[in-house]
């Protein structure tokens, strides 16, 4: 009997211990743990697709005494995305860190972060979620401060403190649920929670705590410096996965636990915050001077889009239309995960080649590394939401739903967000074309004036490009099975007549 759910968490934990114990062999040991972890996660996805929701009662006790791991379609989709992104990061990291003291420090924390992510996606227990959140937060802070540089440490100290406040708030909400319902199991709690002060306040506490962690506007202030100052593979993981994990939890709790009992005004509030995030994040990204800072602000904006789905989901009765829209939300989250990871991985290489990541001085680097630039371009297409990326499909469905439900105010927000995103993406891409002219008198730019570029092999460039291709082509053109997968999402309001 192989418990793939438990293995998705256990394998990276073993990898972490191994890389702690034998730092000299961190890379081979880390990769040796990474590959089976990805395999286990993909097996979970396959099982969910084939057989529906997968449950593993750890310790054999079952709820409410023991802890359940549970994988439904939603969990499986995010698990699959996270592990593929993590695989790309793992393949990229050795080349990126080669010869640096950071290599041995990176791997154990990275494997712990990975374990936390998988644990979080699969958790079916409210307190266990708290532990995975803390593991995620501490591992992320450690990774973010990996270089020990002042700016990085400062940003991550702030992240750590905000994260702690968030998880304490979350834990208070969990205590409230336990006090009222006497269970920590998510599904049981969902069955027993009724509309009332307990539901409202625990929703506010848990979601509020998670919003701090998922950097939803106006709680986003910690994110850009923390993500922009980390080493590129870490930024990729933080921006693509860690904040996404917090969003996933908000969505999951809302769908299963709170959606039916807290009413539409709470969802509307989430939507409003999301709208503000879309505009503010995109605006700041446009004004950013550094590529990684731009990418980090773009994360703030993209998270905003995800929260726009809440008021729409809240208004739809359970059924096909709602599942379709939920699929769009998940598609958006997945596409952003791949695209943002790709953008950070590519930005890291441009930074390596140019020695800096100031956008206005990146012409030589973008032209010396065309594969990387292609990766940036494709990731950019996905971030803007142009076809054929998955974002486009998702945005189309978001727009249609908003219009269909008469929630007009979101439409200009989406339009403005899209145009601002286009502006900041093409601010970067324009530099890829500025070159020595045949006519005219612009100063020629010599791609060879970028000595760092030669040291960057194709193997280091491919992970970023692959992720971008997934975001643009795979999720844009062949995303339909996602909705079949999500059909096995637990939605109690759907089960109840």
């Amino acid at each position: 009997m192989i418990d793939w759910l438990a293995l998705s968490v256990a394998l990276p934990l073993l990898g972490a211990v191994a890389t702690v114990a034998l730092p000299r062999f961190a890379v081979p040991l880390g990769l040796a743990a990474a590959l089976p972890t990805v395999w286990a996660a993909l097996m979970v996805m396959v099982l969910v697709a084939d057989q529906g929701v997968q449950v593993s009662a750890l310790g054999g006790w079952g709820a409410p005494l023991g802890i359940l791991l549970r994988a439904d379609g939603l969990a499986a989709a995010l698990l699959g995305m996270a592990n593929l992104v993590a695989l790309a990061v793992s393949l990229y990291a050795p080349g990126y860190f080669r010869g640096s003291v950071l290599e041995a420090r990176f791997w154990p924390l990275w494997m712990l972060l990975w374990a936390a992510l998988n644990g979080l996606f699969l958790a079916g227990d409210l307190f266990n979620l708290y532990v995975t959140l803390e593991l995620l937060g501490l591992a992320a802070a450690g990774l973010g401060a990996l270089t020990g540089q002042r700016a990085a440490v400062e940003a991550n100290l702030r992240y750590l403190l905000v994260g702690l406040l968030g998880s304490m708030t979350y834990l208070l909400g969990v205590s409230l649920i336990y006090t009222a319902l006497g269970t920590l199991d998510l599904e049981q709690a969902a069955r027993e929670l009724r509309a009332g002060p307990v539901a409202w306040v625990s929703f506010a506490l848990m979601t509020g705590g998670l919003i701090l962690k998922s950097a939803l506007f106006p709680m986003h202030f910690w994110l850009p410096p923390a993500h922009a100052n980390a080493p590129a593979p870490v930024s990729a993981a933080l921006s693509a996965l860690v904040v996404k994990a917090a969003f996933y939890l908000v969505l999951r709790l809302w769908l299963e636990l709170f959606g039916p009992v807290v009413g539409a005004s709470a969802a509307l509030l989430l939507g409003l915050l999301g709208a503000a995030a879309v505009i503010w994040g995109a605006w700041r990204a446009l004004r950013a001077e550094r590529l990684k800072l731009l990418a980090a602000y773009s994360t703030v904006a993209q998270l905003g889009y995800l929260f726009l789905f809440f008021p729409l989901l809240a208004e739809l009765p359970a059924g096909t239309a709602r599942t379709e829209l939920l699929g769009a939300a998940v598609l958006l989250a997945l596409t952003h995960g791949f695209a943002k990871a790709s953008l950070f991985l590519c930005a890291g290489l441009l930074q390596k080649a140019a020695g800096h990541d100031r956008i206005d001085e990146l012409s030589a680097a973008t032209q010396a590394l065309p594969v990387v630039t292609l990766g940036v371009a494709l990731a950019g297409v996905a971030l803007i939401g142009l076809p054929p990326s998955g974002t486009f499909t998702a945005k189309w469905m978001l727009l249609t739903a908003a219009i269909d439900l008469g929630q007009w105010p979101w439409v200009p927000v989406i339009m403005a967000g899209t145009l601002l995103a286009a502006a900041y993406v093409f601010r970067v891409l324009g530099h890829a074309f500025a070159s020595a002219p045949r006519h005219g008198d612009a100063p020629p730019i010599d791609p060879r004036g970028c000595p760092g570029a030669n040291a960057i092999g194709l193997a280091l460039q491919l992970p970023g490009l692959m992720l971008a291709l997934v975001a643009v082509l795979a999720l844009g053109m062949t995303a339909e099975p996602l909705w079949d997968l999500l059909a096995s999402t637990t939605d109690p309001s759907e089960a109840a007549p």
């Binding site: 100290l157 702030r158 403190l161």
Partner: protein, 96 residues
């Protein structure tokens, strides 16, 4: 008996909160941390009263003990540094 116990509970609760108040309002970091340690130990005592001896032990040893020791060391370092440098070090702006 019950009333007496209740009075004791009330008294304990009030002292815990009062001690916490003293802890969070103390400006001088070292004293704040020392108060925090005392607060933790008192809390451990209360938890023992609430029939949670395992947790009481853990709080005394880990929460108040090691956590306190860690923060105390940090407070001392801050003190040493401030004394060493005549111009005050920039404040540790951790929040916003």
């Amino acid at each position: 008996m019950s009333a007496l116990l209740l009075a004791l509970d009330g008294l304990l609760s009030i002292s815990v909160v009062a001690l916490a108040w003293a802890t969070v309002t103390r400006r001088e970091p070292r004293q704040a941390v020392i108060l925090f340690i005392a607060f933790g130990l008192l809390l451990a005592l209360v938890w023992a009263r609430l029939r949670a001896p395992d947790v009481a032990l853990a709080e005394a040893a880990i929460g108040a003990g090691l956590g306190g020791a860690l923060m105390l060391a940090a407070a001392r370092r801050a003190l040493i540094q401030r004394d060493a440098a005549p111009s005050p070090a920039p404040p540790e702006e951790a929040g916003r």
